[in-house]
Symmetry: C2
Subunit: 199 residues, 2 copies
């Protein structure tokens, strides 16, 4: 596996923008070529298939998430602090790589079956990192006795969806969103003596 040429990078980022705007199936290889001032068939001097382009984008996004977030799960800090850092790092990837993240979340299921399986495994390991930190927090008495799987899913559900509405040119900074989300979830998980919202 050699490192991608400049032209390939251009193809991936152009395709990433188009796939994110219109979706994978509604974007033709000719749409991508046109953005790069190429003829339709000329793309195939650089790529083998349209699906390969999707795969590259999805893997680029997956690497951002995994490399930016998973190591924080085993950082030397309290579970509360680790989870806060993970939520921030995840939202940093979403907000700074919005196109790739959108394609990752929205279009990965259109990959070939082998690749869908590979992405599903990455996702499961990513979820496990969050679940483990929640388990640590419950074990350490920092968090109340939640179901770690459900709590991790709730956090991930929330931060994943952010690509649907976050706009870099909007009023909210990535940090505002991250801090607000992190506070909400950490308070929600926090062990309290007071209580008041139980049924």
């Amino acid at each position: 596996m050699t490192q991608p040429t400049v032209r390939k990078q251009q193809i991936y980022s152009t395709a990433g923008a188009l796939f994110s705007q219109r979706g994978y199936h509604a974007t033709s290889v000719r749409d991508i070529a046109q953005e790069l001032n190429l003829q339709g068939g000329s793309l195939y001097a650089h790529i083998d298939s349209k699906e390969d382009v999707l795969w590259e984008i999805v893997q680029r996004a997956a690497a951002e998430f995994i490399e930016g977030v998973v190591p924080l799960a085993s950082a030397p800090a309290a579970a509360t602090e680790r989870l806060r850092l993970m939520i921030r790092a995840h939202l940093r990837v979403v907000t700074h790589h919005l196109d790739d993240a959108t394609v990752f979340f929205h279009e990965w299921r259109f990959l070939a079956p082998d690749r869908v399986r590979a992405v599903a495994e990455q996702r499961d390991r990513y979820e496990a990192a969050f679940r483990c930190v929640v388990e640590d927090g419950v074990g350490a008495g920092e968090f109340r006795a939640v179901d770690p799987k459900l709590a991790a899913l709730a956090v991930l559900s929330s931060v994943n969806w952010v690509y649907q509405w976050y706009r870099p040119d909007g009023p909210l900074s990535p940090e505002q969103v991250a801090d607000s989300f992190a506070d909400l979830f950490l308070r929600g998980l926090q062990a309290t003596d007071a209580g008041g919202s139980q049924r």
Copy 2:
């Protein structure tokens, strides 16, 4: 506008299942026809266009959400209790109409521009219902002084994403998910004197 015939309902629910599995653009009208044991062109005896079918499914899902959830925002109860009911009702729609909800969240942007606008307006009004309840809770001193817009987005982001992983034949009942999510968010929003997670 007359009420849909039985055949039309079959078309919508068949198309809803296929659109949810494969996506709108990766599903052909011939795929839909085949499921109904019809020839490809025969669908057009009942529908005017493929996009009309998508529109019907999206509107059916939107109606479920709006009718099932929005009235609860002005129910005669504390904000805490109203928000809990809204989270539960929203998740009831997601889990009980999984195909329609998936198509709604995933494919609505492939509608014609006018219809995209109409859906965006419905979504904004839906978000407003959640935001208002958060505002009420903050005003009443039930919730801490969060940004109501961000808090509403956090809750909605989380419950919207559930269609991505919830499976009716899985280990979690809709009620388990709903109660766990509602507890997490309501505790996270709750006004406390104790504190401990602030920066």
